[in-house]
């Protein structure tokens, strides 16, 4: 056996001369390595060619790109043959910002920029310190100020006029900002030695995870007024936000619990030996390690959660998807919903794809090869 393993590790392929043209070699190796593979390649190529050809024909060649404002006759003429991208310049302000006062729409636009900057900064490893928490608090306060106004010469805009992309980002970000600490508390509660706290945590997590988000949102929109004292009522957006925070808390708790389980026993014992209190032990020793373990699944949860905010459509809150759906109610443009959906899908895709790339790069960095 040793004779074999002791052989020098020269790859055999390196010694063998490459056969002929490298392009042909690549093609043969990757596309036509066997007869069934060749058949699959040819079939797929034919299908792809057909699909791409008809998409180019519909989406580019026959498409209507611009029309005079409010006039959809060119689009109607091309209906069935080409896409009507003209609906996007016509409606993009409404789709992105909803019914926010038209002249003030720089404010939600700036908020979106702030959100994106906040996300970008949160991905920087060098900034993973306590200051990041202050940064989040500051940014979210600034965004609230921008959206509501009422001070510094900004006119007040009530939240039932908010809409579009900022609402989606608000629901997702605030949901996360409050859901995450809640998730940590519940995860700790679920691993606590105190039976009452443990069973309350289990009950909360299992109840929330057991039912669809849709029914939680219904509950928030219909039952919340019943729960409150007569005459006391809070805004619909805030109610949905609370439902989303409770939802996020339960799912994040399960991810964080996985991280807590991955922290070796010795770390707990060492922290106890140092005489740290329960909270200091977790804050200084356990949680930093636990959360670091589960960053990739956490990012995946964020993605799922970002997509799930679109469900508020069902209770009539004007997020990005709802404004898109409302934009095409306009009779003149009614038939061009596919184009609008593609536009909105692209926006969602950019956010989610960026997050999933980021999660993948983190995973590649943290898992040993």
């Amino acid at each position: 056996m040793t004779a074999i393993t002791d052989m020098p590790e020269t790859p055999r392929a390196a010694r063998r001369p490459q056969p002929g043209n490298p392009v042909l070699h690549w093609l043969r190796k990757n596309l036509f390595s066997s007869i069934p593979n060749g058949i699959i390649t040819v079939l797929l190529l034919a299908l792809l060619a057909k699909g791409i050809f008809s998409f180019v024909q519909w989406g580019i060649a026959n498409a209507v790109w611009l029309t005079p404002t409010g006039d959809s006759s060119a689009c109607r003429a091309a209906r069935g043959l080409g896409a009507c991208w003209a609906i996007i310049p016509e409606k993009y302000r409404f789709i992105l910002f909803g019914t926010y006062p038209f002249d003030e729409q720089w404010r939600p636009a700036l908020s979106v920029v702030l959100f994106i900057a906040l996300y970008y900064l949160s991905t920087r490893r060098a900034l993973w310190r306590r200051e990041l928490v202050y940064l989040w608090i500051g940014a979210l306060a600034l965004i609230s100020l921008l959206m509501w106004g009422g001070v510094l010469g900004l006119s007040f805009v009530s939240q039932d006029r908010w809409g579009g992309l900022p609402v989606t980002l608000i629901l997702a970000t605030f949901g996360l900002a409050f859901g995450f600490p809640l998730g940590i508390l519940v995860a700790l509660g679920r691993r606590s030695k105190l039976p009452a706290i443990r069973s309350l945590s289990v009950l909360y997590v299992e109840l929330i995870r057991g039912v669809p988000l849709v029914s939680l949102l219904f509950m928030a929109s219909v039952m919340f007024p019943l729960f409150m004292p007569a005459g006391f009522n809070i805004d619909k957006l805030l109610r949905a936000q609370i439902a989303i925070i409770l939802f996020a808390g339960a799912y994040l708790a399960e991810v964080i619990r996985g991280g807590l389980q991955a922290v070796p026993r010795g770390q707990y014992e060492a922290a106890d030996a140092l005489g740290l209190s329960y909270w200091r032990k977790h804050r200084l020793i356990i949680l930093p390690q636990a959360i670091r373990h589960v960053i990739p699944p956490l990012v995946n949860t964020f993605i799922a959660f970002f997509k799930d905010t679109s469900l508020v459509l069902i209770i009539g809150i004007f997020d990005l998807l709802t404004t898109a759906k409302t934009a095409i109610i306009d009779p003149a443009w009614q038939q061009f919903s596919v184009e609008v959906y593609i536009f909105v899908a692209a926006i969602y895709f950019v956010f989610c794809f960026a997050m999933s790339r980021y999660s993948r790069s983190l995973e590649a960095r943290t898992t040993p090869k």
Binding site: N37, I197, L200, L213, F218, V222, L226, P229, K307, L311
Partner: protein, 393 residues
């Protein structure tokens, strides 16, 4: 310590240490807050409900529902009770969830395997499929499919991709075999045959373990699953004629109709979930160490045997737990039906809630239904998981 003089255990005096006291205090605090909040909400609810003259309780379930349900598996008319409307809704949820789970598993497995294919083009196409579908909200995809369904030609100009299959804005119409009790009985025998065959095979394996002689299982399979049902079908004279759909006037007669709402929901759920399942299958297969493939090859095993007996059992251990949560997700996601007007249990509960104001009861019913479905799926998958789990010697 000697065995014949065991020391009596030291009598523990009932003294609470500092830590126990702290623990008790925290528990009392948290429970107190929880009870306080719930009591506050409860008393508000009771006051509000009495102010609106709504009586709590499930008595309303016996009243006439009066809501139309256009597409249902079970017979229903608006004069039926709320209870029956709920049952119809549960059946609709299960109809989309069960078929969706089966189709999503098949499609997801195919795509997951394609991503690992040696064919560069195939693996790229599969990767693009997965990335695109995963990163767009399901609700958006659902609305998109529904809009496409509505944009299909009218019944008269329906597309006919295959003879007897019609695709129009009335949905997908397929040829079908009319199903009644006799057909069901024959199908039931086949299922029973499967169950018996399963036991017989187990017995055959036990026999083989005893004397080492392989015993073929296929004659039993043929007899139990094919011959027995066919014989019963012939004896009873059950008819299996296929009913072809036909266009009469503005609509179709005969065949099986999948309404556009149901069809759109099914497509959206299946394609979306299959993208996640594909990733699970891929990582499951990749988790099997290379040495296992090499060893199986070195033993000269046939490829199908190798996949079935060596690779798959090991991959399944990694695949099954996350697959369970995908199945649960699909079931819960089926509640998005309410956005396009397919009447699943959530949609019907919502209508009930609007008609009667029985908010708490309606939400409680939704929760009960989904908790039951979730628990049964988890229970089944956990049982399956424990069956295939690694048995350490």
């Amino acid at each position: 310590m000697t065995a014949d003089h065991p020391r009596p255990p030291p009598r523990r005096r009932f003294v609470l240490g500092r830590n126990e006291l702290k623990g008790l205090f925290w528990q009392a605090l948290v429970v107190g807050i929880a009870v306080g909040v719930i009591a506050f909400l409860w008393s508000n609810t009771v006051t509000n409900l009495s102010a609106r003259r709504i009586t709590t309780g499930f008595a309303f379930l016996g009243r006439e529902a009066g809501m139309p349900i256009s597409d249902s598996l079970l017979a229903y008319n608006p004069r039926d009770s709320y209870l029956w409307a709920f049952v119809v809704g549960v059946a609709n949820t299960l109809r989309v969830a069960v078929i969706g789970i089966v189709l999503a598993t098949i499609l997801g497995t195919l795509i997951g395997i394609s991503r690992l294919s040696a064919n560069w083009l195939l693996s790229r196409v599969a990767a693009v499929y997965v990335e695109t579908l995963r990163d767009i909200p399901l609700l958006l995809q659902l609305l998109f499919w529904y809009v496409l369904m509505q944009a299909l030609p009218a019944a008269r100009a329906a597309w006919r991709p295959v003879e007897g299959v019609f695709l129009s804005n009335r949905g997908l119409i397929l040829p079908a075999i009319p199903f009644g009790p006799p057909q069901l009985a024959v199908l039931g025998t086949a299922v029973l045959g499967c169950a018996v065959f399963f036991l017989v095979r187990r017995w055959l394996v036990v026999q083989q373990m005893r004397d080492g002689k392989p015993r073929p299982a296929w004659p039993f399979a043929l007899g139990l699953i094919v011959v027995m049902p066919v014989a019963i079908s012939l004896v009873l004279g059950v008819s299996w004629t296929i009913e072809w759909p036909q266009l009469r006037g503005f609509n179709f007669v005969g065949g099986l109709t999948l309404a556009p709402e149901y069809f759109a929901l099914l497509i959206a759920l299946v394609t979306y979930t299959s993208a996640f399942i594909a990733e699970i299958v891929r990582s499951g297969i990749q988790s099997v160490p290379r040495g296992q493939w090499d060893a199986a090859n070195a033993l000269g095993l046939r490829r199908s045997f190798m996949l079935r007996q060596i690779i798959l059992p090991q991959a399944l251990r990694v695949i099954v737990p996350p697959m369970t949560s995908q199945y649960l997700n699909l079931t819960k996601n089926s509640s998005l039906a309410v956005a396009i007007g397919y009447q699943d249990v959530v949609s019907i509960a919502n209508t009930t809630l609007n008609q009667t104001g029985q908010a708490i009861e309606a939400i409680a019913l939704i929760m009960a239904v989904f908790l039951t479905i979730s628990l049964s799926i988890s229970f089944f998958m956990n049982w399956y998981n424990s069956r295939i789990a690694l048995v350490e010697r």
